[in-house]
């Protein structure tokens, strides 16, 4: 049920990587997790081992069939991914048009998944303002705004705080928090930006992820960072963030809830 949006005003901050690894972290803790890709780049699936040539996704089907859950792929135990898929330009425009104009379009597509008990959904979005983010934000329980530890990202902080990402407050349930990516204490700017963010945001800064080449290598290997390099500093930080996310969303593993298997048409 909980829906988390991972977004950012800026591109190239590592949203997709954070989304994927956060999904893995939550799955490792015992939840069933679904990662949805709202970005036409279609990069999220690669983190889950989907071959480059595999262009399956929900967008092409979404325009006709109402239930997007048919396009979900399994990615290991308790891990599911809903890729954007290969689309033509017209399909993309049509999809965005429906998102922007049909207020029930999104709801119809995701209702099966949203109503599945105990399923944590994490969604990845394109950078900056975009129709998908605007539409999904109204349903989201939590937003994670990802930034890099540099001044280019930092300069967009007012952008978010002034609600310019979707033109209205980002999240109206548990709120929005920040995740600072690729922080390197050995580098002057990185250290200063991190310190500033910690001071300025306080508890709104959910976590700081250490700059770690293992993340890029894990991506290249199409594995989760936890499997690729368990000792990775970034993995530790992401795990810590996932714990905080779970706490905010009230996800309690070990309270006796029983999760039945999610049936998918593929695999």
């Amino acid at each position: 049920m909980p829906l988390v949006c991972v977004c950012s005003p800026k591109g190239g901050v590592g949203k997709t990587t954070v989304t994927a690894n956060l999904a893995y972290a939550l799955a490792r803790a015992g939840s069933k997790v679904l990662a949805i890709d709202f970005d036409v780049q279609n990069a999220l699936r690669l983190h889950f081992g989907v071959p480059l040539s595999d262009g399956r996704g929900y967008v092409t089907k979404a325009i006709e069939s109402a239930d997007w859950s048919q396009s979900v792929l399994t990615a290991g135990s308790n891990m599911f991914v809903l890729p954007y898929g290969d689309v033509t330009e017209d399909q993309r425009l049509e999809f965005e048009h429906l998102l922007a104009t049909d207020s029930h379009f999104l709801m119809r597509g995701l209702s099966t998944l949203l109503n599945y008990p105990g399923l944590v959904i994490i969604a990845d979005f394109p950078p900056g303002p975009n129709p998908a983010l605007k539409a999904v934000s109204r349903l989201a329980d939590l937003h994670l705004v990802t930034m890099l530890a540099d001044t280019a990202s930092l300069s967009l902080l007012p952008h978010i705080e002034n609600h310019r990402l979707i033109g209205e407050p980002l999240n109206n349930k548990a709120g929005y928090y920040f995740v600072l990516n690729q922080s390197d204490n050995r580098r002057h700017i990185s250290r200063d930006v991190t310190a500033f963010m910690q001071q300025h945001l306080g508890d709104r800064l959910l976590g700081v992820i250490n700059r770690d080449e293992s993340v890029a290598e894990a991506n290249a290997s199409q594995q989760s960072i936890f499997d690729f390099s368990p000792a990775s500093a970034a993995a530790f930080d992401i795990e810590l963030i996932s714990k905080r996310v779970a706490a905010i969303l009230g996800i309690k593993i070990g309270d006796g809830a029983v999760h039945t298997a999610l049936r998918t048409s593929n695999f």
């Binding site: 204490n185 050995r186 250490n210 700059r211 770690d212 080449e213 293992s214 290598e217 390099s229 368990p230 000792a231 990775s232 500093a233 970034a234 993995a235 530790f236």
Partner: protein
């Protein structure tokens, strides 16, 4: 009302006490009496309550007084002049022990467990503090970290000023002070050593409170926030002393095989004794790790310069004027222990001389301004340092009978034994019960034995001529790069040990053929037992002179701190430290990456901030990687000090397990055994190495020839 009851009780119990003390008994009755009192005490011992300890203390006092009374009234009859001299000498030694025992009981009866007084939330009300780091001839390497640690103290920047007081007037210190951003003070002369140095600095500074750190005492960040509150709470408080904790081992811990698991030698003083003093408002200044109110110091004219232990004297002077002192038993700073036995002896000799000087020049028993409890506590501190002669007397006493057949105690062996036994056992038992976590039984004998022969002359001379003698500073921080046996320090011990060994053997021989020699075997047994007892501690004291090689300059601290390992390839992994020092660290192995990928830096993660340091791998095995820190600039070194030495909880460890007198004695015997065993082993090893070397040389020269 309570007071009336108390005096009433005293009135009733007094005659009983007198009776217990003076009633003479024959040996059989005395044995029974002693046995009963010990049995009662054993039963009482099941209760851990403090009031029970007080009762036991009173019983111990009674038994000891009974013994002294017996000795005074019945055993002082001698047949010759020489016996009289030696006999009275021994009695005086035992009288000294009795006085010190009484005073110690008084001093430590009610240890005051003081807590931290919190500072108010509004930092603008906090007093200004001047931190002094006096130095004379110590190396900059040692002093540097002390100054950097002082800079890490959590206190408002505008309210703390740190000063490096350099009596050596060294240029590198001046440069360092400017670089680090602390004050630098020198003076034209070096009169009155450290006290003069501090007084000179007082003229140039203005802080309401003065905090003194010896040049090797690194403070934790919480030092001022834990101590200054008390000064705001009590306007009459002049001094707050904190323990001198050592993070490097002292000669006893290093050189004795059993030394590492026992409480440190200073733990008794910086525990029950100062806490006991605190109860009677008699805590005295120990020269470092303390905060003093400037106005109190000014009232007494600055730090005392008349004696070589200017610290204790300063506190005494302040107390005479009605100021109060306090002791907080939490280690908030740490320093380096004396590296070698000879340095330890030098340091303690200075303390003994200084305390004797105060005894002569500013005797606490006389003069106004002190309560009787304060007087007695100070008296005890000074009397303690007179232990040299009594101890020598004790150790050599059996020789009189065993070697020279001189009777210096006029009593049958069993009678004296019957009287002495409850006296001895009770005092050992009570010390174990009250101070067992801070000092294990019998170890005090070793500490005193090491010093005894060296202090005889200095204390005697100073007692007679208190103004003589100069201040010699203890060397701190020098590296001992080769192990050796310091014969010169224990020469007198070895001589006496040999004499005792001979005496014991002679005694045993005579006892075996006692009819032929016409001697009482019981007396021989008593003297032989006494001789052996002394011999054990003499040998243990000699064992301390076996100096082991100090292999590294920086002291390692066992601590688990999270680290991020930065590899050359850009990978960052996470692990934790196993131990840490200012020179390097050892981290747990997270995976195999370090075998192929070079570790460039590691980042230590404290909550208040992280510090990244360039490293070099020195060694690794399956469990851990050992890293050496490379050179870092001063401001980064300060952050390293913050992590390694200035952590608030760095020196707070759980107390050692409670003492068990038997186990403690066994450890000591083991140390003595190890002295011979290890010496023999290392000799054999050296011989083997020399043979190997010789063989290698031979084969090398052969190769050259061919």
């Amino acid at each position: 009302m309570k007071k009336v009851l108390f005096y009433l009780l005293l009135l009733v119990l007094a005659p009983i006490a007198v009776l217990i003390i003076i009633t003479p008994m024959d040996s059989q009755k005395q044995y029974i009496f002693g046995f009963i009192s010990l049995a009662i005490l054993f039963l009482l011992g099941f209760s851990k309550k403090h009031s029970v300890s007080i009762i036991m203390m009173l019983v111990s006092v009674l038994m000891s007084t009974r013994y002294i009374y017996f000795r005074a009234t019945q055993t002082l009859h001698f047949n010759s002049e020489i016996e009289a001299i030696l006999g009275i000498g021994l009695f005086l030694a035992e009288l000294y022990i009795w006085v010190v025992l009484l005073l110690s009981y008084l001093q430590t009866a009610f240890p005051l467990k003081r807590g931290i007084v919190p500072l108010p939330d509004d930092t603008s009300t906090w007093p200004t503090v001047d931190v002094y780091v006096p130095s004379y001839n110590e190396s900059l390497e040692v002093v540097r970290d002390t100054v950097l640690a002082a800079q890490c103290i959590d206190y408002p920047r505008d309210k703390i000023k740190i000063y490096l007081l350099d009596d050596g007037k060294r240029r590198e210190f001046a440069v360092f002070a400017a670089d680090a951003g602390v004050g630098y003070i020198t003076r034209n002369d070096n009169s009155h050593a450290k006290a003069g140095n501090l007084n000179h600095a007082m003229k140039l500074t203005k802080g309401e409170l003065i905090c003194v750190f010896d040049c090797d005492h690194v403070a934790t960040r919480i030092f001022l926030q834990a101590t200054v509150g008390a000064f705001l709470q009590d306007p009459k408080l002049a001094l707050l002393q904190t323990p001198h904790y050592f993070y490097s081992p002292d000669p006893f811990e290093r050189n004795l095989s059993g030394g590492k698991n026992i409480p440190n030698e200073g733990a008794l003083f910086y525990g029950p004794i100062q806490q006991g003093n605190d109860n009677w408002n008699a805590t005295f200044f120990c020269g470092s790790c303390a905060v003093i109110r400037r106005s109190a110091l000014e009232e007494i004219g600055g730090f005392a310069v008349e004696t070589v232990t200017e610290d204790a004297h300063t506190a005494l002077k302040m107390q005479r004027l009605g100021w109060k002192s306090a002791f907080l038993d939490i280690p908030l700073a740490a320093g380096l222990a004396t590296e070698r036995l000879v340095l330890h002896v030098i340091q303690r000799t200075r303390w003994a001389r200084g305390m004797t000087q105060i005894f002569r020049l500013d005797n606490p028993l006389f003069g106004r301004g002190l309560k009787w409890q304060q007087r007695l506590c100070y008296l005890n501190a000074m009397l303690y340092f007179q232990f040299a002669l009594p101890r020598v007397a004790f150790v050599t006493a059996p020789l009189a009978y065993l070697l020279f057949n001189l009777n210096i105690i006029h009593s049958s062996a069993s009678l004296i034994f019957a009287y002495a036994l409850p006296h001895l056992i009770l005092s050992i038992y009570l010390n174990s019960r009250m101070n067992g976590r801070y000092r294990y039984s019998f170890w005090g004998e070793i500490y005193d034995m090491v010093m005894a022969f060296h202090l005889v002359l200095p204390t005697a001379v100073t007692m007679l001529f208190p103004k003589r003698g100069k201040f010699n500073v203890t060397d701190k921080g020098a590296l001992l790069n080769v192990g050796y046996f310091d014969f010169s320090v224990v020469r007198p011990h070895m001589i006496v040990a040999v004499l005792l060994a001979v005496a014991v053997i002679a005694g045993i021989v005579r006892a075996c053929a006692h009819d032929y020699f016409g001697v009482d075997p019981n007396v021989i047994a008593l003297n032989v037992g006494w001789g052996l007892y002394s011999l054990v501690f003499l040998l243990a004291a000699i064992a301390v002179a076996r100096e082991t090689r100090q292999t590294r300059k920086t002291i390692r601290i066992d601590v688990d701190i999270p680290v991020v390992i930065h590899y050359a390839s850009g990978i960052s992994s996470r692990s934790n430290t196993l131990d840490l020092s200012m020179g390097g660290c050892r981290i747990a192995v997270p995976d195999d990456r370090h075998l192929t990928d070079e570790i460039e830096e590691i980042e230590l993660q404290l909550k208040s901030g992280s510090i990244s340091i360039p490293v070099q791998v020195i060694a690794n095995d399956e469990q851990a990687i050992r890293l050496q820190f490379e050179e870092i600039p001063l401001d980064r070194r300060r952050e390293l000090v913050r992590v390694v030495l200035a952590r608030a909880d760095a020196w707070i460890h759980p107390p050692k397990p409670q003492d068990n007198p038997f186990r403690s004695l066994l450890i000591i015997i083991r140390c003595v055994f190890d002295l011979f065993w290890l010496t023999w082993k290392s000799r054999r090893e050296n011989r083997r190495l020399r043979q190997e070397e010789a063989k290698r040389m031979e084969s090398a020269s052969e190769d050259n020839v061919t």
